[in-house]
Assembly symmetry: C2
Homo-oligomer: 342 residues x 2
C-alpha cells in the first residue's frame, strides 16, 4: 500500500526533509529556520522574549483511540501558544521534539505535522527547529514556544492587587466533559469493537477537548482596548488551581462568585447526563485553555459588556483566603483538584 | 527507606518546587526564570537569538545499565550547548521537558537534575523553564537551548568557500569506542550478573561517551584570535556525515587527508583491541561533540600551531566531490554512515 510507509524506509533525515518542504516562514524575526545546528532569530528592538515548553505524552495527555493525530498536532501547538498568550506576548516561533514509537508510519507523522502546520498558520507562528528520535514506547511530543512582548510589558502571575477584578475568557468545564464522553465511548468500544461511537450529540464539548484554541484573539482585543492585566495565567489544570497560583504568586486572596462562572449550554447538558455538578466541572475541569486575568477596578467600564469576558469576582487581602461564594452568599475555600500526572 | 520516594508522593508541582529551590540564575538576560506560564528573557541589544532542541530517549540515546543519571543530565545539557556553540553563539538559557516512567524515584530525578545543574554551571547557562509528565515507557528528556550572538555574526553550515581550511577541534572516535566498551560489558553483565565490569582501562573513551563537553572554550578562543569561521557544525553523527552537511549546504566539495585525522592514543588502543579500523572510527563514530569548521586560507598562520585544533584538509569546488585522501594519495568518496535511530 502506498499510504503506509515505515519510518525506517525514509530515516530521520528523510523525515525531516519531507517535513521541511511543507514549512512556510511568516515571522520577520525568523532569520534562519530548520536546517542548521540552531535557528537564528532577530527579535524586534525593545522587546523581551518569552519562552515556554510543554510535553504531550501518548497515554497520558492524548489517546489515539479517539483523537486523530492531526488534532493532537494542532492541540500541541495551541497549548504552547496559550502559555505565550498568558504572558501578554505574541507567539513567534516553535521548535518541536518527537520521540516516535515503532508502530507509527511516515504518513501518521505527516498527519501530526499537518495539524501543527495548521496551528502555526492560525497563530502566525514559524516552526524553526526540531529533533526526531525513535522511542521504545508511544509518541512523545515536546514543543517549546517563543514569543515577543514590548520590554517590561509581560504579564506575570504575581501582579494581582486587592480589589482587582478577576476575569475569565470564554466558558469553562467543556474540555473536561468532552474527555468524559471520549472515555465512556472508549470503554464501550473496548467492550464491543463493532459498536459505533455516539459522538454526534457532543460536538461542542468534544471540540473543547480535542481542538482547544489559545485565546490570542483576547490578547489582541485587550491591547486594542488599552488594557493591561495586572496578572494572568491560562487555564490548563482548572480554574481552582489557576486562581490559587495567581493568589500565591501575588500574595493575595480572592472571591469568586459561583453564579458568575461562565457555563455553556452544551456543557450543562452533558454535565446533567453524566450526573456531574457543573460548578465542579467549571472549577476543577482542566484543559479549557481560557485566560484567567486580573484588571484594576477602574477598568470595569471598559470590560463589563465584553461578550467573551466574564467578571468572576475580585482579589482580596491574603488573610481573606481564596473562596468560592455560593448563591446563598456562603464562602467555601477553594482547593486545588488539578490534574496529577503521577 | 528515606532515599527512595515515589514520584506520586510529591506530585508534579512538588517535584518542580524541589527542583526550583536548587536553581541559581546567572545570566543578565534572564528577567524571569521558572514559575510562571513562560520565562522572560531580555536579550542584549544588537544580538540575535539562536535556538536548538534535542531529545534524549532511554534505550535509544542512553542506557541506565551503565550510565548514571547524573551523567545523562550533564550530557543532555552539553549536547544542546554544543549546537549553540556550532552557531558561534554563547549559550544563555535552557528549558527542560521530562517524561518520566513510573519506576523512577524522586531521588533519581533529582540526580538527573544535579547533572543538569552542574552543566548549567559549567556553561554559564540558566535553567528557566520546564515541564514534567508521567510516561508509559522510560525516560525522555527534551532540552531546548537558547544562545545569543551579535546580530549577523552567527555561523551557518552554508558559508564554506573553495580553498577554505577544514578544521576540527580535539580528537575523534573516542565516544564511539566508549560505546563499544559499554555494550560489551553490558552483554557480559546480562550473561552473568555477578561479573565485575572491566572499565578501569577505558577511562578516556568512556569519558568521551558518557561525559562529552561542548567546545565553548574554542568558541571563546576563536573570538580572542579575531577569527570567524565561514561555516561550522558540531560532530554528533560523525565527521563524514557532518562534512557532507557542510558541503551540501555550501555547494562545495572537500578534501580531507586521512593522515591528518586527530587520533588520541587511548582511542587507538581500544580500536586495536576491538579490531576496528581507527580511520573508520574517526570518520563515522558519532557523539564526539567536537566542532568542525572552515576558515579562510589567509587565517592559516593564526591557527596552524593551535594545540587543540587540527587542519584536516580544504574545501574544493563541488565538482571535485567530497573525498578522503589516503596516505597513498588516493581519493576515496566520503559517504554518510551516520547513526540512524529508526
Amino acid at each position: 500500500m502506498s499510504d503506509i510507509t515505515p519510518l525506517d524506509k525514509v530515516g530521520e533525515f528523510g523525515l525531516i526533509r519531507r517535513i521541511q518542504e511543507t514549512i512556510t516562514l511568516r515571522q520577520p524575526s525568523t532569520t534562519l529556520g530548520i536546517g542548521d545546528d540552531a535557528a537564528i532569530l532577530t527579535p524586534a528592538a525593545q522587546h523581551d522574549i518569552v519562552v515556554s515548553t510543554d510535553l504531550l505524552v501518548e497515554g497520558v495527555h492524548f489517546d489515539l483511540t479517539f483523537c486523530p493525530l492531526k488534532h493532537v498536532g494542532y492541540k500541541a501547538v495551541a497549548v504552547n501558544v496559550s502559555d505565550i498568550a498568558a504572558m501578554n506576548a505574541l507567539p513567534t516561533q516553535i521548535v518541536v521534539g518527537l520521540a516516535i514509537g515503532s508502530r507509527y508510519s511516515v504518513e501518521a507523522i505527516e498527519e501530526l505535522y499537518e495539524g501543527m502546520r495548521m496551528a502555526c498558520e492560525a497563530y502566525n507562528v514559524d516552526l524553526v527547529g526540531g529533533d526526531t528520535s525513535a522511542s521504545r514506547g508511544g509518541l512523545t511530543i515536546s514543543i517549546t514556544a517563543l514569543g515577543q512582548v514590548e520590554t517590561g510589558r509581560a504579564v506575570r502571575r504575581s501582579g494581582a492587587q486587592p480589589n482587582d477584578l478577576i476575569c475569565v475568557t470564554g466558558d469553562l468545564g467543556g474540555a473536561f466533559l468532552g474527555l468524559q464522553v471520549l472515555e465512556r465511548e472508549k470503554a464501550a468500544f473496548l467492550a464491543d469493537p463493532d459498536m459505533q461511537p455516539e459522538l454526534a450529540n457532543y460536538t461542542y464539548v468534544l471540540q473543547r477537548q480535542l481542538r482547544p484554541e489559545a485565546r490570542m484573539d483576547v490578547i489582541h482585543e485587550l491591547r486594542d482596548l488599552g488594557l493591561t492585566p495586572t496578572s494572568m495565567i491560562d487555564i490548563s489544570d482548572g480554574l481552582a488551581s489557576e486562581i490559587l497560583h495567581i493568589c500565591t504568586a501575588s500574595g493575595t486572596g480572592a472571591r469568586i462568585f459561583s453564579e458568575n462562572l461562565p457555563a455553556a449550554n452544551p456543557m450543562l447538558e452533558v454535565a446533567n447526563e453524566f450526573n456531574l455538578d457543573p460548578i465542579m466541572c467549571m472549577l476543577n475541569g482542566g484543559e479549557d485553555y481560557e485566560l484567567l486575568f486580573t484588571l484594576p477596578l477602574a477598568d470595569h467600564t471598559k470590560i463589563k459588556n465584553h461578550p467573551d469576558i466574564t467578571i468572576l469576582g475580585h482579589i482580596t487581602e491574603k488573610s481573606d483566603g481564596v473562596n468560592l461564594i455560593t448563591k446563598a452568599g456562603q464562602p467555601v475555600p477553594i482547593t486545588a483538584q488539578g490534574f496529577q500526572h503521577f
